[in-house]
């Protein structure tokens, strides 16, 4: 084939792919976190219609393949609503929404993990719902959820690989194009796999570090 051999520049290509992957991961995680926590607050306040809507949307997002969600946003939305959607936009929308759905679940369960006893105690002393949320629930929920959140983010990092299928030049897509040129998938996918692994490990140890700091800060040993 025309460019059949690996070249040193391929390393640059892989790193570029990694950059795209990590960049999209960071953006979508941030949006997902904000939106998911917001949904959690909606639920905490039991805002009537909104709460059902949020639950429904997050259920759909959690219970359908990300790949199909991507296809729907990238191929389906433009065809139906006549809006222009670039692959990167589709990736950001889909991944953010998907992350938000899971963040919502973590937010809800970490709020619920805080004993009703404590909430009752605070209520008996006259604290309002907002005060209870801010002073009693939020600090503990944050410490509680950091573990599940780390696990989620490690998972979402891997989910980003699916956007290669709609043509975003992320790490997985670079892998595919290197294959197109070299036809040596064994080496290519091994290298790509290692890069993903290292990135996942980095996210995980960042999470562990954050957890340690949060726990050390509030120093509750027995919990």
């Amino acid at each position: 084939m025309r460019f059949a051999e690996f070249t040193p520049y391929d390393i640059v290509l892989l790193l570029q792919g990694l950059g795209v992957t990590v960049g999209l991961f960071l953006i979508t995680s941030l949006i997902g976190l904000l939106v998911g926590v917001l949904w959690g607050v909606v639920r905490f306040y039991r805002i009537p219609v909104l709460m059902q809507l949020v639950t429904f949307v997050s259920e759909i997002l959690k219970n359908s393949p990300v790949l199909v969600q991507l296809f729907l946003v990238f191929f389906g939305f433009p065809a139906f609503f006549h809006v222009n959607v670039t692959p990167v936009q589709a990736a950001i929308v889909t991944l953010s929404a998907n992350t938000a759905a899971f963040v919502y679940v973590i937010a809800v369960s970490s709020i619920e993990s805080i004993g009703r006893d404590q909430v009752e105690a605070a209520r008996v002393f006259g604290l309002s719902r907002w005060q209870v949320l801010r002073h009693v629930i939020a600090p503990q929920a944050a410490a509680f959820s950091i573990g599940p959140l780390t696990a989620l983010l490690v998972n979402q990092l891997q989910v980003t690989s699916l956007i290669s299928v709609i043509g975003v030049l992320d790490l997985a897509k670079i892998g595919a194009t290197l294959n197109l040129r070299t036809l040596k998938p064994f080496i290519v996918w091994t290298a790509v796999g290692i890069l993903y692994y290292l990135a996942a490990k980095a996210v995980a140890s960042l999470g562990a570090w954050a957890e340690k700091r949060l726990r050390a800060h509030s120093a509750f040993r027995g919990l």
């Binding site: 359908s64 393949p65 699916l162 993903y196």
Partner: protein, 223 residues
């Protein structure tokens, strides 16, 4: 454009074929991953350092590399070193291996959650390690991990959509063909989303029933 689902009617049979393939692959992979997960869970709780380390490595690797990369590696990479597996088998094996990593965690958690007092009771009764494991530890662990194993299955159904990238025409693969035949991606993918959500909903209902049945006797009776 109007949402016109009738255009899909001629393709329903075709889509059902894909759904059947999805279910087939997931059922086989579920069996595979529970068996694998059980073995790995045992290995990880094993007292031999090497065995437990190896088991950990397996879990670590397959949880931190995107499934699509694993799949490409198995399907396109392995033939390069002389290992040929057909697409369906590759799909089932890859799902089993990835699912096994998650299943082992669920089962391990079930084992670790067993009250130490129960194990001590068994020990002082003179029960051997083997009897304690097969008659007490495993039955309790499997009962308590029904739900987490259920989420592994649900995740597997969602992940199976990625098998469309290695030529398998499971539900998503068939849907892609329908989308390119009809040029109506929105309708196709909306329906697909709903079908997956319904499928996983049914599965989780089943899991709940199973969980209830198995744990019926373990529940405190509220009198």
């Amino acid at each position: 454009m109007r949402l016109d689902l009738t255009i899909l009617i001629p393709h329903l049979g075709f889509l059902a074929e894909g759904a059947l393939l999805t279910l087939e692959a997931c059922a086989l992979a579920l069996i595979g991953s529970v068996i694998l997960g059980m073995l790995v869970a045992i290995a990880r709780t094993s007292s031999s350092k090497w065995i437990s380390r190896l088991a950990f490595l397996y879990v670590d690797l397959f949880r931190n590399i995107p499934f699509i990369v694993q799949l490409f590696f198995f399907y396109y990479g392995l033939p390069e070193i002389g290992i040929y597996i057909d697409a369906f088998t590759t799909g089932v094996v890859a799902l089993s291996i990835a699912g096994g990593a998650y299943a082992s965690d669920a089962i391990r958690a079930g084992i670790l959650a067993i009250d130490n007092g129960i194990l001590e009771a068994a020990e002082v009764s003179g029960l051997s390690k083997r009897v304690t494991f097969t008659r007490i530890v495993l039955p309790i662990a499997l009962r308590t991990s029904v739900r987490p194993l259920g989420s592994v299955l649900i995740n597997m159904i969602l992940t199976s959509s990625i098998l469309s990238t290695i030529t398998l025409n499971e539900l998503t693969g068939q849907a892609k063909i329908v989308a390119s035949d009809t040029f109506r991606p929105f309708e196709v993918y909306v329906v697909l989303l709903v079908v997956y959500a319904a499928l996983t909903y049914l599965v989780s209902l089943g899991i709940t029933l199973l969980h209830r049945r198995l744990n019926r006797d373990l529940q405190e009776q509220v009198s």
